[in-house]
Subunit: 427 residues, 2 copies
């Protein structure tokens, strides 16, 4: 037996043991900001949080009681990696309304759609592979893909979403896949037009490049008609259509924006052979998503409850969006521009040239209002866009009166910064 | 706009897009077996499942009601990546009883301890790095580490656990870290002796190799005294001990075996700088573990409920272990050997030379009894051990009468195979 003298031990220098991939990983700006902005006096437009006052608490209470009386062992025991079968059936039948012909075998339940992004990165990305993303794009996706050593090809967006006229040049660089948010994009709030959707799936097909379609907000449309999912358009191009066994599109969604993010429930819809491989990866990642959360969510959502609840959310969030748009028009000068989202949780503000949203953030905090500066939403390798001139505003979490007051405070911070900028230019 | 003619599209060959790491990934034999063995007529010793009849269902019911009445918004909303603070405090104070001086800043809540293994692989393993593991070891760890391209150094175990007398030779190959299960090991059921624990931490210190100590079953001890954790022994060696900021050991545990696996709640205990990096990786992996599951688990466990519940579990599982040991002695011939675990959920059976647990598995299924063949528990690169002669039996899930009957059936399958083997040898 080797037993050394005590008190001579050295501690390991842990950082020197970290894998190379950790060099690409920074903490999410948003999550660090959320901590700062939890002070009660701060009006926060920073997070992507559902409103605190919309959770269907009574329904959860009845449901938990029912589940624990009727189905407790199932809900508390280990479950299948694929997910709770009735929930997968429900998801398949819900998306069928939008023309996506899926069955349970096309659905994998994930621990929030953040895990869906992580598993897709694990499945597809070799270190150095390029992922084609929108500029700006969802920072959680960048964070998930960075862990697998992704490089990026960024394609700009405008009011109609991804600039598909600029897409082909980037596709010729050979991205491993494209990651797009067609509906009420995070962060920009824009929606990809129907024409561009057709162009996107045609180009994906022409170059043989898969699409990952992330759709967390699709149900939260406040005006206009639902536009067809990329899955649906892609399948229209197929020579035959015998169920969802083929196709170039993986589709993601979640209950985080419609039911409750605290459940951590998302899903991946894909051809069964892709699901089978993702199941193997998920086994190693967390065995399966909480059975308790899955059974409760299924029982809460069933019997049209989720549809009724989503209708209520649409009314509440539509009003908040309108209040924010009106307050922006009232308080902000004409040099500041913003998107007018038809749904979702966010809008995207563009500041006049020379302004910097990171400085504005610090100034805004002095006035007890918070948002996320735009540079977090651009891939680090993307030199074409100036993220610093942009900011993301969430309109779902704060109440209407808070939204008005928050935008007023933000406009004061903006004017302060603008004056400082002018005085610097004068000197 | 590019809109191609319809019906000319080709589907992507998805498998050709998969990342290199997926070549190392197979589905867990256990999870596939669990599906086969879910037929009600099968007595299964295969899974690592808690008994169905021990879940504290009433306590869960009261707790869900209380949480949703008093704390619903917190439980349903997004939470911090680190985990629910009261739960982290509780875990820190629980492990303090065993001499591990941790605070909340040392604790990261994970989506089951499977995610702890995945995050540790993500943090530490570069493709081709060697991980030192016990032979046999927990197959879920191999599965998690395989996704990061781990190679393995396997060190054999005996009745006293890891053969620390054989450890130094392997340490000189420079493993990135060691992964060990000191208490009631999965699959072998053995416990690392106190002398060997001292040797292990001393050698880890001598070579500067970190230890990942996985302890899912530590509380489920049915006889004898608790042995000191590797964290504690490692810290005794430190020249000064001002809180858990240094040290060579990362410690893992879970509520899956003491409360309910369906919650998917595990944790990592480590120096704060390691926790901070793991938090960044977890942000990209699933943002955070279900707040609902965390708040419910905290409220279920508090006020000594968990301790009382664990005492009950010990009595139930001790009886089942004793029934299985007695049935093995009654039904099996003397050439078959097995371990006598002092705790946990498993024992490990060694068959006579020439027998193959994979054949026995097929024969056993004909008799409606199931287990996990041993070869799943050895790293693929490990040529030193013959996993085929071993099988893992779980004694926590089946009831005592089922255990007796299952072992009787298994002995018939074993005798059938032994006779076939003899007749082959005769010819």
């Amino acid at each position: 037996m080797v037993r050394q003298e005590r008190k001579d031990a050295m501690s390991i220098a842990w950082t020197s043991r970290y894998a190379l991939r950790t060099k690409n990983i920074k903490s999410s700006a948003i999550r660090e900001l959320l901590k700062i902005t939890q002070r009660p006096e701060v009006i926060s437009f920073a997070g992507g949080l559902p409103a605190n006052d919309v959770f269907p608490i009574e329904r959860f209470e009845e449901t938990c009681k029912k589940v624990l009386e009727q189905n407790a062992v199932m809900a508390l025991q280990y479950g299948e990696t694929e997910g709770y079968k009735p929930l997968r059936d429900m998801i398949a039948s819900r998306i069928a309304r939008y023309g996506i012909k899926a069955q349970a075998e096309n659905v994998l339940i994930t621990t929030g759609s953040q895990q869906a992004l992580d598993l897709i990165g694990k499945l597809l990305i070799n270190s150095g592979d390029r992922v084609l993303v929108e500029a700006p794009t969802y920072l959680g996706a960048l964070q998930a893909f960075n862990a697998y050593g992704a490089e990026y090809l960024s394609v700009p967006c405008d009011e109609e979403g991804l600039r598909t006229d600029l897409l082909e040049a980037s596709l010729r660089f050979g991205p491993k896949f494209m990651y797009v948010l067609p509906n009420f994009q995070n962060p920009a709030g824009t929606t990809l037009s129907e024409d561009r959707r057709h162009t996107l799936v045609s180009l994906a097909n022409k170059y043989g490049i898969p699409i990952v379609e992330d759709d967390p907000y699709g149900q939260l449309r406040y005006e206009g008609e639902h536009l067809p999912s990329l899955v649906v358009l892609d399948r229209e191009n197929l020579p035959h259509d015998d169920g969802y066994t083929l196709g170039n599109v993986i589709y993601l969604s979640t209950f985080s924006k419609t039911l409750a993010p605290g459940l951590r429930l998302g899903w991946i819809v894909a051809p069964p052979e892709v699901i089978a491989k993702l199941v193997q990866l998920k086994q190693g990642a967390d065995l399966h998503t909480s059975t308790f959360a899955q059974v409760v969510a299924y029982e809460v959502a069933r019997d049209n409850f989720l549809d009724e609840h989503v209708r209520k959310l649409r009314d509440i969030y539509r009003e908040r969006r309108d209040v924010m748009l009106a307050a922006l028009a009232q308080y902000f000068p004409s040099q500041v521009r913003w998107t007018r989202p038809k749904g979702g949780l966010f809008l995207w503000v563009s500041l006049p040239e020379g302004m910097d949203a990171n400085y504005l953030f610090r100034e805004a905090l002095k006035h007890n209002v918070a948002f996320v500066p735009g540079n977090s939403f651009f891939a680090a390798s993307d030199q074409t866009q100036d993220g610093r001139r942009h900011l993301r505003l969430n309109f779902s979490h704060a109440r209407p009166d808070e939204i008005r007051e928050g935008i007023r405070r933000l406009s004061i911070a903006e004017k302060t910064q603008l004056e400082q900028l002018r005085s610097v230019r004068r000197t």
